[in-house]
């Protein structure tokens, strides 16, 4: 596919996945990779950046004799995700309008 998730769109995807369920690095990386056809090295920088912006925080859960680090949304993470989602819907609708052959207005004009 020529259209790829980058930048804010990738942020949106990562935040959405974590919103659904707190998750750890490996699971997150593999789910993003499975869905979006990005390489393994793509996810870590995104996480790091989101952490740096305090949109994500971590907590440790004991697992197999060590701690597994889970990521969850912070307050501002949820807020940022809401904004991003709205942006995305608007963007999607705009693109749809351009791309679809017949917009409702055109139909009206023709009749």
């Amino acid at each position: 596919m020529q259209i790829t998730a980058q930048g804010a769109l990738l942020d949106l995807c990562v935040l959405s996945i974590i919103e659904r369920k707190d998750t750890y690095g490996y699971l997150l990386t593999s789910s993003v990779k499975a869905l979006l056809d990005v390489s393994e090295s793509t996810v870590y920088p995104v996480m790091r950046r989101l952490m740096g912006q305090s949109l994500l925080e971590t907590y440790d859960v004991p697992h197999d004799g060590r701690n597994r680090r889970y990521y969850k949304l912070t307050e501002s993470g949820s807020k940022s995700l809401r904004t991003l989602k709205n942006d995305w819907y608007m963007f999607r609708d705009t693109i749809d309008e351009i791309v679809k052959d017949k917009s409702p207005e055109q139909e009206v004009e023709r009749t």
Binding site: Y24, Y26, E40, P45, R48, R49, G52, Q53, R66, R68
Partner: protein, 245 residues
């Protein structure tokens, strides 16, 4: 990369490669990928899926540098407008460039230094990319090979040309020797000898001319390549100097 097929070695190597990062960033990245490999349940294939470790390290460094040049050290501050991905082109001290929105963030010296560091690391990353040197070596070797080919062709032509000279002289002398016995044979022999001498002379002469031309072309090309790459380096250096000063 057989020697990096276990987690400990892989992470140790990653840690080494990330030496340009601040300690905190370095450890965070190593922890993340260590946990990644552990959680995968299959070290070998997890390491394989991460690809070339240098690419991985480069992506961590590049992204860190990029993020730093964008928002400076105060990364938790939400950006008022979408920030440029590179430091602004206008002088740092100017409060605002004329065509920038009024709430455009001013780069304070503190931020500037960190942006500078990020730019510096980006430049280092470019130099560290394992492309430049092999290309330079390849170009050099190809030019050398061409020079050797030209040289050997010239050498063989010269050898042929020079061989014609004593041959021609010998034939002419033999002609002179047989002159008392048979005048037609002698004339034929002398004539052939002189023709050979002439051919030898022309082969040698034009071989030299062609060789000189080819070598001049080759050295010109090599010179241009060297000058161009040096100029590129100088450009890079002056850019770096501009950023630093």
């Amino acid at each position: 990369m057989t020697e990096l097929s276990n987690r400990r070695d892989y992470i140790a190597e990653l840690y080494r490669l990330l030496s340009v990062l601040p300690q905190e960033e370095r450890e965070a990245a190593c922890e993340f990928y260590d946990a990644f490999i552990l959680d995968s349940g299959d070290e070998q294939s997890a390491i394989k899926s991460l690809g070339d470790i240098r690419d991985l390290a480069a992506s961590v460094v590049a992204d860190w540098a990029h993020g730093n040049s964008r928002t400076g050290t105060e990364r938790s501050v939400p950006p008022p407008v979408s920030l440029p991905t590179t430091p602004p082109a206008y002088p740092i001290d100017a409060p605002h460039a004329p065509n920038m929105p009024p709430n455009f963030p001013v780069y304070t010296p503190k931020r500037r230094r960190s942006a500078l560091r990020a730019a510096f690391i980006a430049i280092l990353a470019i130099f560290a990319a394992p492309i430049g040197l092999p290309i330079a070596i390849t170009v050099g070797v190809v030019l050398l090979a061409i020079a050797i080919v030209i040289f050997s062709v010239v050498l063989s032509f010269t050898a042929v040309g020079i061989a014609f000279v004593p041959g021609g002289i010998g034939l002419a002398i033999m002609g002179l020797i047989v002159l008392p016995q048979s005048i037609p044979t002698a004339l034929f022999s002398i004539g052939s000898g002189l023709v050979m001498l002439g051919i030898g002379y022309f082969i040698t002469k034009y071989t030299f001319i062609t060789a000189r031309f080819l070598f001049r072309k080759l050295t010109n090309t090599a010179g241009k390549v060297i000058v161009r790459s040096r100029r590129k380096h100088e450009n890079r250096n002056t850019k770096t100097r501009e950023i630093i000063s």
